[in-house]
Symmetry: C2
Subunit: 379 residues, 2 copies
């Protein structure tokens, strides 16, 4: 039964005609089916319906729906709980639908980021439900909406705000693309508008005004020359980045523009606080108005924690730093340490040609299944 | 009766409920009434209705409607014809409606550009109709739509394309704001997109891509450093201008943009041809793709022509160069030499605080009326 959290819009009536997902299919076929159910941010409804129906059909899982996010949990009374999570949405299509198999690769929107990871998690949910009697830890599976867009619509943030107990756990594993390896922590994310003022005038008498777009050349040139820092934490190097992601100026084709806004995106090492990140950007542009519109803290890798170290050891891979922002930061803010481990090359995320290796999908499923079902309790 | 030219959309059915314009009112009150009939480009219908009705009420004028443009002509069989013209549209409102009187100034959208000039022309139409028996030249009055936007919707261009005989004449006088003085010829107008390419990537791994916005800093910096030329023709100095009027880049807040487009507007002296103007811009940005989207030739001042010199002499003022592009260039391309002479400070055009001096309105009407009614034929 769906429970509408207070302050959150009531979930849509579920469509009972959802396209069925076959969790018994192999993980490649399941990924392909997920890619072929388009779910750009804000339009995850049909996919959430299908995921919810598939999870409700499994034994031993309590399933809850919040908006277009779905959470399924065992309730075995085990002393520890692991949370596996993945987002259902994708960036906009770029002429990369439907899914297409080419040799050992599966191409298509979201194949890498992150329908491959969602497919692995769904396969693990089926396996955990089947073997629930022998699990040494309780398991939570969270599939959520709106990860690729503004933070306040993020399904995990909505659940954290209204039903945080659904995300309780001792370790969170996000199945974001990490090439099947383990990526620890995540960098912080900041968006800011750098506002360059001018003075409006008719372009036939431009000397009466001051062209804000021309003046913004200095901001862009400074960004071009900027060398991002590389910061090492727990032996991992976090490579920062500062990029203009939008430039907007223009009143009319015969008017000298009186404002040019350069929107910058800073990716910052998790050792910086949001306040420090903000001060860093302001320090680079001291003579301009800087309007911070969004800032999300990073998450420290936390490789010194027993639970985290235990998972890394069980997977037998060398951890790398996570450069993108992921929702491990949301778990970190709930006190749940987190790692990223999922199929797909993270450098392919958001590219029109994204794909996932079929072998990697199968290997990722296999290794995580082995860890999940034969796990040794660290309690 | 309205005649729909071939290839031009049929005019709208005229609303017979047009707000009446009182051409017997003084020119200030008439300007105020025109300002209070909003007519942003593309929405001139109600104002065109009112102008058409007022002109049809005058004796001795043949009135034709083309779209939302209105042409009224005497047909006295005189050996020469003078065309007085003005556009009905304005740039978008900027919190400057309704009209407001403050001392000797009338403020409001279009007060300067160019409802003051339209009011003067309407007063002159009434005077010419009244005194038609003593006119030594035939007179045409043209009030037209869409001057402030893309050239292909310009009412004068539409008439020139489909009913050029309506614009026949030996001298055209545009009542564009010129401070009551005479502005000769006009500069040319060019719009071009300078395209800066990049390579898309996730901002968390920006080094995989190439930020087109950062690279556009060079284009904007070059524009900032550019010193426009000043070119003297017939003793008049035409001051050129090259301005970015729009900058557009941005895919998403986490994507390195793969394209940044800088739209520039060149105002060029009438001694340059459109082809030369285009080559000039390309020469400034040789390493970029330059897409010219619009180019309009200027009009030479032509002060050596007898008709033009005669009008300047009759008005008794020193001619100045016209820096903005005006539709004298369209008349020039029809073989009709033209001058700009109208009330309003051209430097106030397109500014939120535009106004027109009441004294200048009255003086402009008076001087042009004197010239029009007592003109000596140069034939």
């Amino acid at each position: 039964m769906v429970d509408a959290p207070r302050g959150h819009p009531a979930p849509q009536t579920r469509r009972r005609s959802a396209v069925p997902l076959d969790l018994a299919a192999d993980v490649v076929a399941l990924t392909e089916a997920l890619v072929d159910m388009p779910s750009e941010s804000g339009a995850e409804g049909p996919l959430a319906d299908a995921v919810e129906e598939a999870l409700r059909a499994l034994p031993g899982l309590e399933v809850e729906r919040v908006g277009n996010s779905v959470v399924a949990r065992t309730d075995l009374g085990r002393p520890e709980r692991v949370v596996l999570a993945g987002h259902l949405d994708t960036v906009p299509a770029a002429d990369n639908l439907p899914a297409r198999r080419d040799g050992e690769r599966l191409y298509g929107l979201g194949a890498c980021d992150m329908k491959g990871g969602v497919a692995v998690a769904l396969k693990l949910a089926a396996a955990a439900a089947e073997a629930r009697g022998s699990l040494t830890r309780d398991v939570t599976f969270a599939f959520y909406e709106c990860e690729e867009i503004a933070g306040d619509r993020n399904g995990l943030a909505v659940i954290a705000a209204h039903r945080p107990q659904l995300l309780d756990g001792d370790l969170a594993l996000l199945l974001e693309p990490s090439g099947g390896g383990v990526e620890a922590g995540c960098q912080g994310f900041l968006l800011a508008d750098i506002v360059v003022p001018g003075r409006r005038a008719h372009t036939a008498r431009a000397w009466m005004g001051s062209n804000a777009a021309h003046l913004a050349g200095e901001v862009l040139t400074r960004l071009h020359a900027h060398v991002p820092e590389r910061i090492t934490i727990d032996g991992l190097e976090y490579r920062e980045g500062l990029n203009a992601v939008a430039v907007r100026a223009g009143v009319s084709s015969n008017v000298v523009p009186d404002e040019c806004v350069v929107t910058v995106n800073l990716r910052f090492a998790p050792s910086r606080s949001p306040e420090e990140a903000e001060a860093y950007v302001r320090g680079l542009f001291p003579e301009y108005e800087v309007r911070v519109t969004e800032v999300e803290p990073g998450a420290l890798p936390g490789l010194d924690r027993a639970m985290t170290a235990g998972l890394v050891k069980a997977l037998g891979v060398e951890p790398r730093p996570k450069l993108g922002w992921t929702d491990v930061a949301r778990f970190a803010s709930l006190g749940v340490p987190g790692l990223n481990c999922g199929p797909g090359d993270p450098q392919l995320a958001h590219t029109p040609g994204e794909f996932v290796s079929m072998a990697e999908l199968r290997e990722c499923e296999e290794r995580l299944r082995g860890w999940l079902l034969s796990q040794e309790s660290a309690a």
